[in-house]
Symmetry: D2
Subunit: 337 residues, 4 copies
Amino acid sequence: MIIVLRPETSEEQVRRVIERIEELGLKPHVSRGESRVIIGAIGAHASSFAYHFEGLDCVERVTPISKPYKLASREFKHNNTVVTVNGRAIGGKQLAIVAGPCSVESLEMVVETAMVVKEAGAHFLRGGAFKPRTCPYSFQGLGEQGLKYLKEASRRTGLPIVTEVMDVNEIDLVSEYADVLQIGARNMQNFRLLEQVGKLNKPILLKRGISATIEELLMAAEYILAQGNPNVILCERGIRTFEALTRNTLDINCIPAVRMLSHLPILVDPSHSTGVAELVPSVSRAAIAAGADGLIIEVHIHPEEALCDGAQSLTPNTFLQLMQDIRRIAAAVDRQL
Amino acid sequence: MIIVLRPETSEEQVRRVIERIEELGLKPHVSRGESRVIIGAIGAHASSFAYHFEGLDCVERVTPISKPYKLASREFKHNNTVVTVNGRAIGGKQLAIVAGPCSVESLEMVVETAMVVKEAGAHFLRGGAFKPRTCPYSFQGLGEQGLKYLKEASRRTGLPIVTEVMDVNEIDLVSEYADVLQIGARNMQNFRLLEQVGKLNKPILLKRGISATIEELLMAAEYILAQGNPNVILCERGIRTFEALTRNTLDINCIPAVRMLSHLPILVDPSHSTGVAELVPSVSRAAIAAGADGLIIEVHIHPEEALCDGAQSLTPNTFLQLMQDIRRIAAAVDRQL
Amino acid sequence: MIIVLRPETSEEQVRRVIERIEELGLKPHVSRGESRVIIGAIGAHASSFAYHFEGLDCVERVTPISKPYKLASREFKHNNTVVTVNGRAIGGKQLAIVAGPCSVESLEMVVETAMVVKEAGAHFLRGGAFKPRTCPYSFQGLGEQGLKYLKEASRRTGLPIVTEVMDVNEIDLVSEYADVLQIGARNMQNFRLLEQVGKLNKPILLKRGISATIEELLMAAEYILAQGNPNVILCERGIRTFEALTRNTLDINCIPAVRMLSHLPILVDPSHSTGVAELVPSVSRAAIAAGADGLIIEVHIHPEEALCDGAQSLTPNTFLQLMQDIRRIAAAVDRQL
Amino acid sequence: MIIVLRPETSEEQVRRVIERIEELGLKPHVSRGESRVIIGAIGAHASSFAYHFEGLDCVERVTPISKPYKLASREFKHNNTVVTVNGRAIGGKQLAIVAGPCSVESLEMVVETAMVVKEAGAHFLRGGAFKPRTCPYSFQGLGEQGLKYLKEASRRTGLPIVTEVMDVNEIDLVSEYADVLQIGARNMQNFRLLEQVGKLNKPILLKRGISATIEELLMAAEYILAQGNPNVILCERGIRTFEALTRNTLDINCIPAVRMLSHLPILVDPSHSTGVAELVPSVSRAAIAAGADGLIIEVHIHPEEALCDGAQSLTPNTFLQLMQDIRRIAAAVDRQL
């Protein structure tokens, strides 16, 4: 349930409400807005304890949350969440463009790519050091060496790093290098991993599973939020359908639907959503027009030589052109690039 | 195969090429460009007859068409097809907005809706007189009476009519009233119906089946084109996936994919693609940003009283606002509303 | 709603109940069981008229039907429907095996195939004369010539004919030759076609659309039943999913689900459900074990030369082996072959 | 590639082939058949090293493996793999029935259920101690306490335990209690977890992900096999489709398809495949008829009180009846219960 406190409530009163929530075996989640404090009390049958709070002087109202996800819902938090990474906001008026190679292949290629995408206007550098691959014999990424190369590219360009963590035991290592930890589509329901990254205060980019419903995506986010980490960025990256011409089907409906149901920011990955570089510019424009907070795009200096996903990677020139197109769309929906 | 004739080819030479195509048991399809004539020769094993044409003086080159659809492919016709309806173009720089009620319920409602959407800037009036309904006990439309109401609304507003034809035996009747015949999603592979509308020269709006691949959509278009009717407008209206929050999943990838593979214009139906009025504005913007040639949208004066699909119908006010949004997106992709 | 009459009700009383149903603008459907008559009264808001019947002496009880399909539901008719074709029952203890080529290619092949499948124990001959093909340039069937060949094969073997009708204007022609009219998957929601075959009293084999839900399949059956033709045989033939190894995914859950919800018999088409001849025997056994009333299987004398669907056709020998396997499974579920 | 050695090859020669494989940077996997030894040499571009072995006296032939999975393919190992658990075989003539509650709720319930299913003829006890739940606020299982209850139930009935492990850090703990470790559908592509259980020699029950293709399932198995653990049992548990009447769609095609492509045993989970207890008996019969090596079924003493998945759990009586049905089907396909 959500306990909305009156504007004039003192810190001492807030503290006492929190204590009572804990005494009832519930977990308090405090959200401080501009004019008032809202406290979520989460736990089994939480709503049945409403009468403990309804009578209190400092309580304006108590309302149940009807959705199975609580902290991720707009009912819990009305205003859009803006996640800040190294001083850069994701979820505000400014769009966030994350770009870089599918996987880090060498120091040269990642530095060169980082410089190119920086130049074109990207705000974050992506790149996989630990790669979850369907086949055990495919290239699995450079591991820690890859993280070091990313760090060097970041140092030279100033771009914060977004990179994937695949396992609870790699969280510490990846956290040393990454500014945003990515949870990949295959791990969207790896609940132990979600719980552990929920204990960090680093921003988490949570990709939708290829066959996860929108509600399941929000429930996965809830696993992270429930552990205390409010910095969750969602990412639509295409779902699995019968259509075989494209690698996945970008669920564009997901963007306004998430916007309606949740306060969390959402990016779109047009590269995995299509699997075809020629389609990336069009669907990128569509994503921004639909209201996405940004894009995460694969760019490769030489796509034809990529060790992974070359067919969906943009060349530097196409990326530059895309950024110009996006700038125009952004303006048409009152956003900025 | 495609037979490209030299710029200076005479009409007499064109005629002789056509005759030879026919003598070989193939079917000729002539496409006259600005500078030269291109002739498609369609039939089983057509490409094996290439040597009959390669030596001719007037022939520049002969190339096979690698796709299973021929006349619908960009290989056959490089430039975008622009379909003209009562002097109005679909597929050119100008976007085409088709709006109106899901089904025609009364003369008053369809006239009122037509006036409202016309005022907001729509170019065509949609409305179902014959309604294909999953359940035999649901409202099946007003039939010919509905067509008459549409005609009256068209007379008063000047908007051409787009309406569905469900069966070969209704083609004559519907053609009397409609400016564009719509083939609904459930009939996308009703091949007899496709063949018959292929014998008209009225424009056909062909909706993608809910589980049809993009290639199957183009193959359905080919059924119409192969009968001689070149005026085919495609329509993406959402595919069936596991996601249950929305009625269907708008396959936004389909827009640039069709653009890449075919010369035919393509509209998007954001109403059936989402089934939720709140999501329609966002995905409409996305569709135009992705490169669609227009939209077909359900608008109802009183959505809460609609006999069919009220949940996905826009109110006049929301539609007006949508048109303003679309105008901005159109400008950002060098199109006009 | 369903009006259950008392055992001793006279024909005169039955007649009067029917008249009253009609006076209320509803449509009566009479089902005569062994001990009593049950009358379905179908129409919009039918249940609100229950009080007209509840007081009558001859009425035992009146109950609403909660499903959107009425006549197809087990609520309307408790006992399994057994459809009789030329003295042969489908839906009883005895399984029905329909076998034959995908399409009729010549007199010789269809006669030879018919003899082979008859010999192996099949009860019906299948074969397409009118073929709905995704591509307009694929072999479209021999048309009426094909029907004549089927008739000749039927004459020589005594096997009744199951063949597809694609359009309302072909119903008369196909009915002349066929013992069971098949509505193909692509036409499952061709409502005009359903309505017209609903006016015949020939048995109809209704195939599930590749993306139709079980409820939609029952609603399509309702279109036929509502016109007065009670002889509907359902057919599960695989649905479209993301799995690309097989042509479709046989929805085996559909068999017991239909059994639970409806009284109509249901066959399984293992050929289209898999698209791979090697998988047909296993899934055929599974279908019978799950409770299907029979199978419709593609058999070709020389699959490697088939004009259509050769990869999924069984050879005569494999079919013979399959029939022996099925006989054992049938016994294990108290059915007979 | 696969290196098939001649029947008379000495151990010394085998050793030398293995050494050479390792010198080339490849990984050897030895499979000892009745008459000869077959060695898989796995690694990037393995087939390009074939000439190193083709000339050797002890080598009968060298063949590449065309599939992306190697050790899981029938090309690598022709005969069916039989996995032995506490003296009980899975994958042989005898079917393996795994039964028990969805989650362990108390000592009493798990012991009572174990006794009931043992009595009815089950061979293994299933039960979740660590439960992966879509919603963070759902019952998450009793953890180690649940494992202890399972152990006690196993001690009293002699049934080996099948239970899920969700994370690499829980492997040691779960291994202490479980006889077979289950990898759940959500973790099918948790590659770190697959790699770690690949280092055990305990049998692993690998469930297919809800949107995994058959090829991806075999590739996930390959991750385990490649680490040296040959004891992999596959499990089909339904895939996600558009059909909403059932929880998932049992892909019955998967059974013969896996049989064709792989030597690994495969079970079917009819409970998750349907989500509806009434459908479980039918699809269980279908699974065995299709060739599955056994079933994993949810049974609950009081399904209506279950903390998890009550709607799909069988009562003891229904399970007993099911076992009798299965016994008859087993005999019809030359298997035993």
